[in-house]
């Protein structure tokens, strides 16, 4: 592993040197944003502009310079905004010998190309076929074993066998991806009758968590191969699969979840409250549905190391098969899983506040940025309420202090 890292660093330095020699501009990724943004608020900045302009405080009159604030904020967001960059793969500081993560792909030196060629040969010729075979074995084992276990009568033996079967098959799948996982704080592993929440980066998250403990999955019923697998899994232990029509009915969803949770013999439910895949640099808004049920929540933070393989699934760019192929032809998937201590809703806290508290804990542990934006912005438009908030704030500046004046 360490040798691989050293090779990557050497490769990057080589590229930079080569680029300087030929006067080519080198693309440098910066994870902290490319422009200096001042974190001042609307009120602070307006006061500053007005004070410098006309020696007057915010006394309720409109100033023509007020638009400067909105103007600059708008331009800043055009150059670099916080949200859209969360929906594409993270940029790496050093090159990891994969074409897909190289932004300066030009011929720099023969040595580098040879190294890259060797890497391609190893990955596609050797690692990929091995992994694909393992994947097939894993999935077929899962289906076969769960069906067999399903024929047994319900009881302790069945549960034990189903757990063993699930764990074994998921571990095979993990090998199939060469995922190197480090689990931290296993004493906090989710127990029966609770809900496990985690940040979502890719479908692989499920396999990673499920290879260390047994969970009840939640999801939509699919047709075809996925549906076949789902039906097999349900025979062995109770998962929660929803029909497409049932998904819209939030009460039905909540009821089924709470029924499952109240039955202490059933496994903890695994839920990803973000609702969509985010690129593992930040945690976006948690949907409050799963936090309204009122049981213990076990937060889990998952952080991938992108230097060996990018795990984020950009579903608008790549389909599932394409994604799996890219996964299997990277060097490895390296990630860390932290089990955080369980949390429950406190007195006087509503679901949204609880969700935010859990989100903050996950973000802090995983070293991710905690954001209030909705992951649904990947595909949908932003709600107008945010704009109205800004307008309200500005109106207060214009009008609010005028009322003080008329009173005095």
């Amino acid at each position: 592993m360490k040798t691989l890292l050293k090779i990557f660093e050497w490769a990057t330095l080589r590229i930079e040197r080569g680029a300087k020699e030929r006067n080519h501009p080198v693309y440098k990724p910066y994870t902290n944003g490319i422009i200096a943004k001042e974190p001042t608020s609307l009120v602070e900045e307006m006061t500053e502009i007005r004070r410098s302009g006309s020696n007057r405080d915010l006394d309720g009159a409109f100033e023509m310079s007020d638009i400067f604030y909105f103007c600059r904020r708008g331009l800043e967001s055009i150059v670099d905004d916080e949200v859209t960059k969360r929906f594409s793969a993270e940029e790496l500081e050093s090159w990891n010998l994969l074409t897909r993560s190289n932004y300066n792909f030009q011929h720099i030196s023969t040595r580098l190309t040879v190294l890259w060629g060797l890497g391609v040969f190893i990955r596609y010729g050797f690692l990929l076929p091995l992994r694909v075979t393992l994947a097939f074995t894993g999935v077929s084992c899962l289906v076969v074993l769960t069906t067999l276990v399903g024929y047994l009568p319900s009881g302790r033996v069945k549960n034990f066998l189903s757990e063993t079967a699930h764990l074994m098959c998921y571990r095979i799948c993990v090998r199939a991806l060469t995922a190197i996982i480090t689990y931290h704080h296993s004493e906090n592993k989710p127990k029966n009758g609770g809900i496990c929440v985690a940040n979502h980066t890719s479908p692989i998250d499920v396999i990673i968590l499920a290879s260390d403990g047994c969970y009840a999955m939640v999801g939509q019923t699919h047709g075809g191969l996925m549906g076949f697998i789902q039906r097999a899994m349900v025979r062995a232990c109770p998962h929660i699969w929803f029909e497409r029509s049932e998904v819209k009915d939030r009460h039905l969803v909540a009821k089924r979840l709470s029924d499952h949770v109240q039955d202490k013999s059933k496994l903890p439910i695994l839920i990803f409250p973000e609702g969509t895949c985010i690129n593992n640099t930040s945690v976006m808004m948690f949907k409050k549905g799963s936090f309204e049920i009122g049981c213990t929540v076990y937060p889990v933070a998952i952080k991938y190391d992108p230097r060996f393989g990018e795990a984020f699934w950009n579903s608008s760019k790549y389909g599932m098969v394409n994604y799996l192929l890219r996964m299997m032809s990277s060097w490895a998937i390296v990630c860390s899983v932290w089990y955080l201590p369980p949390m429950s809703r406190e007195e006087g806290e509503d679901a949204v506040q609880f969700a935010n508290r859990v989100k903050a804990a996950i973000a802090r542990q995983g070293g991710l940025v905690d954001m209030l934006w909705d992951g649904g912005l990947k595909r949908g438009k932003v709600k107008d309420t945010f704009k109205e908030e800004q307008q309200k704030l500005y109106s207060k500046i214009l009008v609010g202090t005028q009322e003080d004046r008329s009173r005095s």
């Binding site: 501009p25 009159a61 409109f62 909105f70 055009i78 704009k387 307008q391 309200k392």
Partner: protein
């Protein structure tokens, strides 16, 4: 990334690009490369030009009360697409003004990021019909965009009237560019209308 990039560099620097390895030019090249990559990531249709929808996909811009006006500033008269050169040209207004920056020799026109041109950019946000005057209606429109539904028409009208009264010196009930400059002469425009790059 060849020719358009160099032409944009010209726009950006408002002068002749120095061919020597001046460290300042490394910064300029770096900024241009970053902005090109940003342009590319915004261009979902991959046709080398941005449309208004591409801009509106940025959530922070969509919630900005003046978002639509700012987007408009990028598109020249009557056009629906802006290419990289146009993108850079508009952004060039927001380059910070450096003290030692002088016109590079035979360049008679002002650089795009001079104080005057920054003020002109702001003026054009108000002056929608480009008649070089901000009328009462145009002022009301911008005010309405910034306050939403929180202030009544009468109150907004009186705010607009008072602003015009204070700024108007030649009595034509509208604000010309020179009157605009006079009103804002003490405001630190260079700092408020600049975007600084991190290195």
């Amino acid at each position: 990334m060849g020719l358009p990039l160099v032409e944009s560099a010209l726009q950006w620097n408002s002068g002749i690009l120095n061919a020597n390895r001046d460290p300042k030019n490394d910064d300029v090249e770096f900024q241009i490369t970053r902005l090109y990559s940003r342009f590319h990531s915004l261009d979902k249709g991959e046709n080398g030009a941005l449309s208004r929808e591409d801009f509106q996909r940025i959530p922070e811009l969509a919630i900005n009360p003046l978002g639509d006006r700012i987007i408009n500033a990028f598109f020249p008269e009557g056009e629906d697409q802006v290419n990289f050169r146009g993108f850079m040209r508009t952004l060039a207004h927001f380059r910070p003004v450096e003290d030692n920056e002088k016109s590079k020799g035979h360049d008679a026109s002002e650089p795009l990021n001079s104080r005057n041109n920054k003020l002109l950019f702001a003026f054009r946000l108000y002056d929608l019909d480009r008649d070089d005057k901000i009328s009462r209606d145009e002022l009301l429109q911008v005010l309405r965009m910034m306050v939403g539904v929180n202030i009544s028409d009468e109150q907004l009208g009186s705010i607009a009237d008072r602003t015009i009264q204070e700024a108007d010196t030649n009595g034509d009930m509208s604000i010309s560019f020179s009157e605009f400059i006079k009103v804002l002469e003490k405001v630190d425009v260079e700092q408020k209308m600049s975007i600084r790059f991190l290195h």
